[in-house]
């Protein structure tokens, strides 16, 4: 089983290497967005050094990390599921001796690995030397951060998978992808640290899974949550993974019965 999993991950990395131009595009666009928001935030912090308990240095690191995560969790996975359904390629996947959802999940992890190497890592290096980044507070924090980041990717996979299955009902997977991007932008804390939100909006985001994709790992990294709160945050991420797993599973077994492949 483990051999199979590693093989799937490896194949996905190879595919990503073959289309390296996509990684370069993502690299350039993400870097540009980081700079846009860097200057906007510097204008916001012109007269204050701390707003809402977040310092100027923290916000720089916040932008860099959350923008990179945003690019990864909106990397066009939904149209990929959509294409499988439209072209009928999914029938081949369904015949494979592995569960379709698991198969896609391991593929997604392969994507993540190549994304880190080809896009995230160069961006981090450039930002480190131009904008300056804070190091994690201590060793334990970096371990918690990596754990939280990993859960964020798994969690965003389940959200994408769930939305991706809607392509059983509409042919327009790019529209669904854009829709997911909007939800992630608004509620994950990518645009603004959630501590800037007014109370009622904070309540809404707490009821949604999106903050687990970006705000949770980044606030662990920056020490916005510390001590026993960290376990609480990790616990919530795990809880959301379970909830979304069950929901996507139910929806999957419901939707898969609907499948009508158009000739092919």
């Amino acid at each position: 089983m483990l051999g199979k999993i590693l093989e799937i991950i490896k194949i996905n990395i190879k595919v990503n290497l073959a289309y390296a131009i996509n990684a370069w595009g993502a690299f350039f666009v993400t870097l540009l967005q980081i700079f846009v928001f860097y200057y906007i935030w510097m204008a916001i912090y012109k007269f204050d050094s701390v707003i809402n308990g977040i310092s100027k240095d923290q916000i720089i690191t916040y932008i860099i990390l959350s923008r990179i995560i945003y690019t990864q969790v909106t990397s066009g996975f939904i149209p990929r599921i959509g294409r499988k359904i439209h072209t009928g390629e999914i029938t081949m996947d369904l015949l494979k001796p592995m569960d379709f959802q698991l198969f896609m999940l391991f593929g997604r992890i392969g994507d993540f690995v190549s994304f880190f190497a080809m896009t995230a890592f160069p961006i981090l290096i450039i930002c480190l030397f131009t904008l300056g980044m804070q190091a994690p507070l201590n060793f334990a924090t970096s371990i918690y951060f990596l754990l939280s980041l990993f859960m964020a990717i798994i969690l965003s996979f389940f959200v994408e998978f769930w939305i991706g299955l809607l392509t059983f009902y509409t042919n327009y997977s790019w529209g669904l992808q854009t829709f997911q991007e909007a939800l992630v932008s608004m509620f994950s804390g990518v645009l603004i640290p959630l501590s800037f939100f007014p109370g009622w909006l904070r309540t809404i985001t707490n009821l949604l899974p999106f903050q687990q994709m970006s705000y949770s790992p980044v606030s662990i990294y920056l020490g916005i949550v510390k001590g026993s709160q960290v376990y609480e945050v990790l616990g919530f991420q795990l809880l959301w993974i379970v909830i979304l797993f069950v929901l996507s599973r139910l929806f999957y077994s419901f939707a898969i019965k609907k499948i009508t492949v158009q000739g092919g």
Binding site: I21, N22, W24, G25, F28, V29, L32, Q33, V36, Y39, I40, M42, A43, I44, K46, D48, I51, N52, Y169, T170, N171, Y172, W174, G175, L176, T178, F179, E181, A182, L183, S185, M186, L191, I192, F196, F197, P198, L201
Partner: protein, 263 residues
Amino acid sequence: MIFKYVTLYIEFLKQNLKTMLEYKADFAIGVSSTLLTQFCGIFFVWVIFENIKQIHGWTFYEITFVYGLLTLAKGFDMFFFDNLNALGFEYVREGKLDIFMIRPISPLFQLVASHIMPDGIGLLILGGIVVTKSLAELKITLDLPQILLLIVFIISGAAIIAAINLIFSTTGFKTMNSYIIMSSVNSLQEFAFYPILIYPKFIGFILTWIIPYAFASFYPADYFLHKGFEHYSMLTPIIAIILWIIALRVWRFGLSHYSSTGS
């Protein structure tokens, strides 16, 4: 000549609208999700202003006015010129461009006219609301010539975005996929959604003279906001015309070096 192309475009448009109305669910998803994504920028600025009074001397509605103008320009560009994105991977790679070349109409015209992007309507709705609301809140009332001028600004803005896209789409003749380069250049628009004065000088310079997206947002907006750059505002239509002259030359150059993939 021009009359022929206008009637032809109307015929194309009719067919495109039929397609659009055929897929009602796709239309609703596309329009609402584009609207929502673009709204995120307004949402961002709104949350910031819940925390602080002003950014760099700019008030909330001054910033949204700049944002709204570019949203409208981008909306028109998206609605009418979106097919430029597909030049490389759809028309060159699959050899569809050959069909255009043997017809007695300009291939560029056929490329642009054969597809419209309904999602652009989402941007037009949002941009329209934001611009109207901002003008009202800033207590700027426009007389008829000023309204006409605003329309000229928005059309010029859309033309600027489209011309820049056209220039970079021609890389598709060689690479068969211009989408990545185009979306990279397009992401420079992100800067232009906010007043360019908050950026360092060199970024302002790039957005003014190299990839002049600021002429689709900041400069025309300043004609009404009076932040000291009004004298640039009137350049907007001229920049649009110059860019189109350049873009058409680049297109002709690209087309003359086009060799079919033969598939």
